[in-house]
């Protein structure tokens, strides 16, 4: 049974989310602030975290960074803001996805399910990017020097889907569908931020990428 952690300061939203998630068959933990949420997570890891950005005390952004430092758990931001700067800031803080309030509850559930499902296996056993060997199913990304590269579940998925495309260009929409498994009122920013983050981890020079290349106006491709 998958477990969800809800960190949301509005009591009624939190209660209704708990009811709905339980109704969908998830186990639910909830917290009204970031500190309690982080403690709960430390005691019992969840499969997905739903995180409000505007929290009393420690902000959602800080909570996001703290969670990301501790775990690869998929983090879905529940935001009252839709403007790019806020969205990007949330994603930069390490979130995997975001949804804006007021959201359609069925859409939220669909995304949570997609994130849980994504943790499953891929047909691609392993591939190399220069001196980096990636084994997606085992969550291994290791340099020949023996240095591990730490990737989140979403980043493994993104890299693997690009590798599976065999050098073909994937549009942002293709990537959203394959990696996030859910094509919603499309937001290429989600892809752009993740690609950027991935580059800083795998590229020798992230500003001039050799593997993860942007094809202007079309999308991205992985050159192996």
């Amino acid at each position: 049974m998958a477990r969800i952690l809800i960190i949301e300061d509005d009591d009624r939203i939190r209660a209704s989310l708990r009811l709905m998630s339980e109704g969908e068959g998830f186990d639910v933990d909830d917290a009204a602030n970031a500190e309690d949420g982080l403690n709960l997570f430390a005691n019992r890891a969840s499969d997905v975290v739903l995180l409000d950005l505007m929290l009393p005390g420690m902000s959602g952004y800080e909570a996001c960074r703290a969670l990301r430092a501790a775990s690869d758990v998929p983090i879905v931001i529940l935001s009252a803001r839709v403007d790019t700067a806020d969205v990007v800031a949330g994603l930069e803080a390490g979130a995997d996805d975001y949804i804006t309030k007021p959201f359609v509850p069925e859409e939220l559930i669909a995304r949570v399910r997609a994130h849980i499902r994504r943790r499953g296996s891929t047909t691609l056993e392993s591939f190399r990017l220069g001196d980096l060997r990636v084994v997606p199913n085992e969550g291994i990304a290791l340099r020949d020097s023996g240095t591990p590269v730490h990737l989140t579940a979403t980043e493994y998925r993104l890299l693997t889907e690009l590798a599976l495309a065999g050098g073909k260009i994937l549009s942002r929409e293709d990537i959203l569908e394959r990696v996030w498994g859910y094509d919603y009122f499309g937001d290429g920013r989600l892809v752009d931020v993740h690609i950027r983050r991935l580059r800083t981890k795998i590229e020798p020079d992230p500003a001039n990428p050799t593997y993860l290349q942007t094809v202007r106006g079309a999308g991205y491709k992985l050159v192996i």
Partner: protein, 461 residues
């Protein structure tokens, strides 16, 4: 335009005033001076002639002296020439035909022993002729004084006066123009500022540089008015934004609670389930409304992220995600060959909203979009969404983009229920990309919504 005509009118009246005044001035000066000068000349000539007549009288009484010699002497001492008629005999030193030189009326006046005076033409020159009778010797003394110099002086004076009248008129014209400019410049600026404000540039203010207090008052009132307007707009926008923000949380709870109830729909009585569906549908409408309102207040407050994106990819992505979201059938998408290399500068999320709202509008009022075609010209990209519905009447084609406006036809159809913001949001969003949206007739018979976006000139990425 009105300001220019005011300027012209003012210049005209200034010039006309100057012209009238200077013509009057010329008239009175010329005739006044002429009168004085001519009178003086005449009386001094007359005085001289009397003196000369005394000399002639003396010469006649003293029969020693030759009258001819006396006349010659008189002529040589003055600028005038003299004639004497004594007992019907004409004597003159310098006049060739004395008899015919004197006009008949003068002869008559002299015959009645009166002094006469007349301006005649002598040797083609204006000449003052004075006749003084010397009755004791049956003689008349005539003196001819050339007054051409006087006339020339008067003519020169008239010329100078006329020239200065013309100069004064021109100065009046220039003065009028300058005065009108000084007067209308602040008006022109105020009009321009008002126009800029109407176009949405709310930072426009009039410069505080006018010296006259009236203009300072105008400037100050104008700027005050704009500041108050801006404040009011901001207050309204903030209010709408605050209300919408406050509605987010309860709406989220509402929507989630409806979802919870739906999870256990099998346990519900049919009436309760029907009621739940009604509730659910309206909560959704409410959510969209709040989202739209927030989008609009955000548009007013800025917060737009423009990206350079490939037209074809963007439209495909928008149509696909909107279709999926709205549960639409496959739409007939067509791209002009020219569109492949086209880029536009837009905020992706808002652009997607534009496409989705147009598709939804077509579904709601036009029986669904029949086609979506994309084309370009040298400057713009055109996205046409066609439907096969009844079309939009001419008189509604502007108002259809107003907030909460529903067409006459549409409001009669109870099954149609939108937020009333969809198309106005389209217009709002597209304006942020310097584009436009308009309703036309579709060649297929329904309505065509045409979105025009300027092509991006920057190279992408």
């Amino acid at each position: 335009m009105a300001t220019i005509s005011l300027r012209r009118r003012m210049s005209f009246w200034f010039a006309a005033g100057a012209a009238i005044l200077s013509i009057l001035f010329v008239f009175f000066t010329y005739f006044g001076v002429r009168h004085v000068v001519v009178t003086q000349r005449q009386s001094s000539d007359l005085r001289q002639s009397f003196l000369n007549a005394q000399v002639i009288r003396g010469a006649i009484s003293n029969s020693d002296s030759s009258l001819n010699n006396v006349l010659r002497e008189l002529d040589s001492n003055t600028t005038s020439v003299s004639i004497v008629n004594i007992n019907g005999t004409w004597i003159s030193a310098n006049v060739a035909n004395p008899r015919t030189t004197i006009p008949p009326q003068m002869l008559l006046i002299a015959a009645s022993h009166n002094v006469s005076r007349q301006v005649i033409t002598y040797k083609n020159q204006p000449t003052l002729l004075i006749g003084i009778p010397i009755p004791a010797y049956h003689a008349v003394f005539y003196e001819l004084d050339n007054i051409n110099d006087l006339n020339r002086t008067l003519e020169l004076m008239l010329l100078i006066l006329c020239a200065s009248a013309v100069a004064t008129t021109l100065a009046g014209l220039a003065g009028g123009w300058i005065a009108a400019r000084r007067l209308t410049t602040p008006l022109v600026r105020a009009a321009q500022a008002a126009r800029e404000i109407a176009q949405g540039n709310l930072t426009t203010r009039l410069p505080q540089e006018f010296s006259s207090s009236e203009m300072a008052v105008l400037t100050e009132s104008f700027n005050d008015m704009v500041s108050q307007l801006v404040e009011r707009l901001e207050r309204d926008a903030r209010f709408a934004s605050d209300v919408s923000h406050e509605l987010r949380s309860p709406l989220t709870t509402l929507a989630t609670s409806v979802a919870v109830m739906r999870q256990s729909r099998t346990d519900l009585e049919p009436e309760a389930f029907a009621a739940l569906e009604l509730l659910g549908a309206d909560v959704e409408t409410f959510q969209t409304l709040v989202e739209d309102l927030l989008d609009m207040t955000r548009n007013e407050a800025g917060g737009i992220y423009l990206e350079n994106v490939a037209l074809v990819e963007l439209v495909q992505q928008c149509v696909r995600s909107a279709s999926r979201r709205l549960g639409l059938e496959e739409i007939n998408l067509s791209f002009d060959p020219t569109t492949t290399s086209a880029f536009i500068k837009v905020d992706r999320r808002r652009f997607e909203r534009i496409i989705a709202n147009l598709l939804e509008n077509a579904r709601r009022y036009g029986g669904g979009a029949t086609s979506l075609s994309v084309s370009t010209d040298d400057h713009s990209a055109f996205i046409d969404v066609d439907d096969a519905g009844p079309g939009v009447p001419f008189e509604e084609r502007e108002r259809i983009f107003d907030r909460f406006y529903r067409g006459v036809e549409a409001s009669n159809r109870t099954e149609v229920r939108g937020t009333g913001l969809g198309l106005s949001l389209v217009a709002d969003h597209i304006a942020r990309f310097h584009g436009t949206v308009a309703v036309l007739d579709s060649p297929a018979g329904g309505a065509r919504f045409r979105v025009t976006v300027p092509l991006s000139e920057e190279s992408p990425e």
